[in-house]
Symmetry: C3
């Protein structure tokens, strides 16, 4: 505790590295390809405040194996679960090589996998089977609901979205991610201006246990919205590495936008 004048303050320290029993707010950070040594230095200042580091979309494919291994070691040192963006799984589907992907991930040391269908058409049953299969193979499974294409995403109505989440949790997903991409605009529960659709958010969070959802919220105003709407412990994802500290202050009421939490 740096400041004595704030004793007994909410702290967000991770109490466990058993990723099946998180008991606090979760933060998932989007890594677009940070240098290894920067990643390590960043974790020294901010590593307490994130739980997942997503190696964005297919970036892992263009990195040297040594780089990937070093990054996963850093994750392990800071009790962070590293995993590859769902695009990697989708490419495996396209190439008809899902088994090979599982093997590659095992060899590289990834303990988690994201199962998504944001960029391709995948039969619902097939998606659920892959979730179950990945779970059976021993992976911590995150799955994602939402389409990267705006028109296709808008075609998913609210009831379907809720059903999809439930089905995927039942099939073995430990967390379901609500898609918002890196930009956070015009996708899923965000409108074209990046503003959250309050009714949709409320409906989803009434229907689903908050512990099982991660809301992608790349922009500050979205993070502020979720903290105000769903509480400091809301699970958030696609956080920029440079905003980890900022998000933690938003959660704790230490930034102007949420200072009301302290009153």
């Amino acid at each position: 505790m740096t400041f004595n004048y704030l004793k007994n303050y909410r702290t967000n320290i991770k109490s466990t590295n058993d990723f099946n029993s998180f008991n606090d707010s979760l933060t998932m950070v989007l890594d677009k390809g940070m240098p290894v040594s920067y990643t390590n230095n960043l974790m020294q200042i901010a590593g307490t405040y994130l739980d997942f580091l997503k190696f964005g979309w297919g970036t892992t494919i263009v990195l040297n194996e040594e780089i990937v291994t070093q990054k996963l070691e850093i994750c392990e040192n800071f009790d962070i679960l590293g995993y590859c963006g769902g695009t990697l799984f989708e490419i495996a589907i396209i190439k008809n090589k899902v088994d090979e992907l599982f093997e590659d991930l095992n060899r590289l040391g990834f303990k988690a996998i994201e199962i998504s269908d944001g960029s391709l058409d995948l039969n619902r049953d097939e998606k659920l089977e892959y979730i179950s299969l990945a779970k059976k193979k021993g992976f911590y499974v995150l799955s994602e609901v939402g389409k990267k294409d705006l028109q296709k995403d808008n075609a998913i109505d609210l009831d379907s979205r809720i059903s999809f989440i439930n089905e995927e949790l039942n099939a073995g997903s430990q967390k379901v991610i609500i898609e918002a991409r890196e930009s956070g605009k015009g996708i899923g529960i965000f409108d074209d201006g990046g503003n959250a659709k309050v009714n949709d958010v409320n409906a989803i969070s009434e229907a689903i246990d908050a512990n099982n959802i991660i809301w992608e919220a790349p922009n500050k105003n979205q993070q502020v919205f979720f903290v105000k709407q769903l509480g400091s412990n809301v699970n958030l994802g696609n956080i920029s590495p440079n905003d980890i500290i900022s998000l933690e202050t938003i959660r704790q009421g230490l930034r102007g936008d949420t200072i009301d939490l302290l009153f």
Copy 2:
């Protein structure tokens, strides 16, 4: 001097680490939580061109004490004055623990403090007393005029804004900061598009000694505006760490936007 062909060029090298007698343009940089070693590396390339490093809003609270100490050491090595964003003072007001904050800052090694009321309602007299008190305690005092809430900020008319600045300087502030937040939009002297209100800027700069003001100007077009309107030596704040070098080139006419300065 890297380039001989530009001998006798304006240089912005800090000639003193006596922070009470700056005699040149001031640059205040907003640190949202940079890694320690990145901070050190950044200062090796850009440390000559900034004077203040603001540990943004309440970020300092969520950092380890060791991290804070290391960052302050880097500041000292590069003759930079590190201080915490005014939110920290405002939290102390809310918690009724201003004395404890002063003690914490002393213990941690902060030599400067920001007194602001951007996110809470503070009686003018009370604010001025805190400025005087902090000065008396030996701190270099920066105070901030402006509200983080757009409606509240717009309710401050120009005459009041100028009066507030004068009052705070008289009470002991060494620099008064004109609020613009991290975004620089719809606050104080910026409209919703982030464009400066020229009349307001002119009125303030005619009424107040330029040495006593720091204009928050996070965006490039704002920095260009101030350099063109008020000169290369205008004091600017909330500069992103990655824009320190860019700002210096804007000041010196070494970027397209201000190359006219060389004609």
Copy 3:
């Protein structure tokens, strides 16, 4: 190759450090003043995927000579050609000291130079003579077509733009850069919203050998546009250092936006 499941995949590894005979896609990255050690760490993860590192506009002037030397060494280690933004040449024109600039660049170890007239009025013949002269002095010459001022840039019609490119290539430019600034909006082949003018792009790429052009495309949607329109190997410039890996995934169809390339 990190992932076995993607054997025989397009790889973009630079096969040569002979900068006169690139045979693959070129990527030019805009350096606004990265710390030296960050630059080195970034190259360890991404150095394979860029060919040019542009020391943006006049930033080199405000850096210590030691810093410049260290950065050029890093470039050399990773087979990257470092050069200074054209503003440096334009300043030399204004100061009537082009010979001195050539000497400075030689002394510092720059092997390439950018000849531009984005911020000043330079007679066409004069520009072409400087291109020839720089070539004769042994520099790898990049020249830029376009004005940083929107009105002036819009006054260049498409036919003139194509003629200018051809003239500069004939005069000795190895690559002609199509100006888009750091922002990528309202300049050259981009409209105010940052969207590419498809007809202009097509006309230019039909008239000029694709190997001889570098399109500045700072924003992701622009990079996606060029890859879809002109192919994975299109030469792109003004890429942010943090987007090098992302761009490579866009080229390879490993990000949602271009995953169609894999079908």
